[in-house]
């Protein structure tokens, strides 16, 4: 039985980040890791985005918003284990986290202007990348407070796992860019609300741009950027902090994926991107694998009455076909990233949404149990 790389990680890391595209079981893996760490004696927090209702209830998240809450010990004892440390959970509310960030860091005279700005409202709710950024921002804040020995972050369901990593860079890139400074500085110095559009360069550029967006849009946007720029220093510092946190040796990534061959590209991209950015991939978790039904089941089936035998054999044949499909996918992932540990988790009989199921998932993640 080979030891799981997640064992040492649970004992030593301070931050684990579960990434992967939507529908692969990230939330379950994140919750499982925090649960195991707590049971083994490290106080842990799982920060999830939008868990299944049953899982949320099991974690005591039913009525809670953006704050951390302790999962009652009695619930955990129902598993037949007595956790040696506390387990906390929270459900991240993106909009509220943005608002808190602004309220805390914008100068008082700008606060209302930002919060009520129409552009801000779409920035904080719908702008692509802003969810990813704000979840990292929250992680950074939680990590700085140092109240938990381990924080496990479940990430928003990006179309591409890679989008997530790029979020702090995009913010930093924006704030640190010469172009942005050039745009904003004269207006800041003059204390004007709104930018001089002529700063954009030759005026026909500006005219053409406003033909594209409308003059008023440009003006409103520039006044929003100006208001936001009062937070620039704070933002920049935090965005840098976030970026550092991702590279910190005490931070590790767990890439969650399914066994389908079409997921392969994503695994490879992500792997390359993390390595390029000096971030540590602890493992690729291949979730919901159909195990191959063992030969003895066919022998058992052969002893059944004919009608039942047909039904059972058809079911076994179907399972075999599913197992073969999955094995193909896993073999490809394995050969494509030979240096990364791959952890296989079987598909359980029903959906995995309660603590008992998390516990079972944990046995595979931590290597107590393996697929044959």
């Amino acid at each position: 039985m080979s030891p799981s790389p997640l064992g040492p990680a649970l004992a030593q890391k301070r931050v684990l980040i579960c990434v992967g595209s939507g529908g692969v079981g990230k939330t379950t893996v994140a919750a499982t890791l925090a649960l195991r760490a707590a049971v083994e004696g490290r106080s842990s927090l799982v920060c999830t985005i939008d868990p299944a209702k049953r899982l949320a209830n099991a974690l005591g998240l039913s009525a809670l918003g953006n704050t951390e809450t302790q999962v009652p010990a009695i619930v955990l004892e129902g598993l037949g284990v007595s956790p040696r440390a506390k387990l906390y959970a929270m459900m991240l509310d993106m909009k509220q986290t943005w608002d808190e960030l602004i309220s805390r860091f914008a100068p008082p005279e700008q606060r209302e202007r930002i919060l009520s700005n129409r552009f801000y409202q779409s920035l904080s709710t719908v702008l692509a990348g802003s969810q990813e950024y704000i979840s990292l921002e929250k992680l950074w804040e939680l990590r700085r407070r140092s109240e938990y020995e381990l924080i496990v972050l479940d990430t928003p369901p990006t179309a591409h796992a890679m989008d997530f990593l790029d979020a702090p860079n995009r913010i930093l890139d924006f704030l640190d860019n010469e172009a942005a400074k050039w745009l904003l500085t004269p207006a800041l110095k003059a204390g004007k609300v709104g930018l001089s559009l002529f700063n954009l360069g030759s005026s026909y550029v500006t005219k053409a741009l406003s033909k594209f967006t409308g003059v008023e849009t440009l003006q409103e946007l520039s006044s929003f950027m100006l208001a936001l720029s009062s937070m620039n220093e704070g933002f920049r510092e935090r965005a840098r902090g976030v970026r550092e946190l991702l590279k910190d040796p005490q931070t590790g990534f767990v890439l969650v994926t399914g066994p389908q061959v079409e997921r392969l590209d994503e695994v490879l991209h992500f792997q390359a991107l993390l390595q390029q950015n000096h971030m540590e991939v602890l493992a690729v978790v291949v979730n919901r694998i159909h195990p191959m039904p063992p030969q003895r089941l066919w022998e058992d089936a052969a002893r059944l009455a004919p009608g039942r035998r047909t039904k059972v054999e058809q079911t076994l044949a179907e399972l075999k076909s599913l197992a073969e499909q999955d094995a193909q996918g896993i073999a490809q992932i394995q050969s494509a990233c030979p240096l990364t540990p791959i952890i296989q988790v079987p598909r359980f009989d029903l959906d995995v949404h309660d603590l008992t199921a998390l516990w079972r998932t944990g046995r595979f993640l931590l290597g107590d149990e393996h697929l044959a």
Binding site: S21, G22, G23, V24, A52, K53, R54, R118, F119, Q121, S122, V126, L127, A128, P157, A159, F174, A179, A180, W182, L183, L200, G201, Y204, V205, A208, L209, K211, F212, T213, G214, E216, T217, L218, E220, L221, G258, E262, D265, P294, L297, D300, L304, A305, R308, K311, V312, Q314, T315, A317, E318, L319, S321, L322, E324, Q325, Q328, D349, L350, H353
Partner: protein, 304 residues
Amino acid sequence: MAGLLDKRLWIVSGKGGVGKSTVAAALALRSARAGRRTLVCEVNTQERVSRLLERPPAGPDIRLLEDNLWAVDVRPQEAMREYALMTLRFETLYKTVFENRLVRYFLRFIPSLQELVLLGKILFHLQEKRPDGTDRFETLVLDAPATGHAITFLNVPQVLLRTVPPGPMAREALKMRDLLVDPRITAAVLVALPEELPVNEALELHAALRDRVQIRTHAAVLNSVFPERFTDGDLQALAGYPELLTVAKTQHDRAALAVLAGTKLERNLHVPVYPVPRLFVPSFGRAAIEEIMGHLEPLVTGAS
């Protein structure tokens, strides 16, 4: 019940991993077989539809896959260029303006501009005409992003109408919204798996599309349904073989879950639900898509 063939824009969405691209590919193929010039659009993703149909990838330019069937992967950069060229008319002007470093910076910060140009390009193709005045594409199948992103994406025109002051962007947004909310043109097909999360997401998506975007759900597809096979008697008879019993019980539970999921979808969405059985094939390619197409026949034609 009207079939999809009565509509022109077929939007396929649902939770990640439920088989949206598979369903979109099957629907597009069926539309093309009905003799309609059909364009299937994927949105800034790793292309799946062309691969499922065992054709070379389409890429960002519209490409003919086979008779009556075209595909395109709509990507931000190319879409932005096309969109800008449409509004600005001149290539040189585009270059001066949009290849200006400062402008590029500025544009990145305009909320939802990327989604706007992506959706704008798709809806542009919906309205494109041939020289004889007929529609260039009679059916447009949109393999839309997963739930949350789909809502954001399709909601862009409405958000913009609230956000931007009157002007070109607002006018564009208004045109886009009018197309999307017109039930004679647009039909949303929600895909789910017979499991708790995908079903709940389909219900959320349905409500969000209805309340925020004003797009009506036309139908749901319940994908990967396991057939009902074992009777209670069968299960009792397997008591002496615990492992086989587990196998049979799992199959039985999954089949039961599919029935439940179908009922839940039907009751909450008030639209027909079309089950597609789980296929047990070594690799998922064209043959599988054709088989799925057969199961979606009543959805497309409206025949019961």
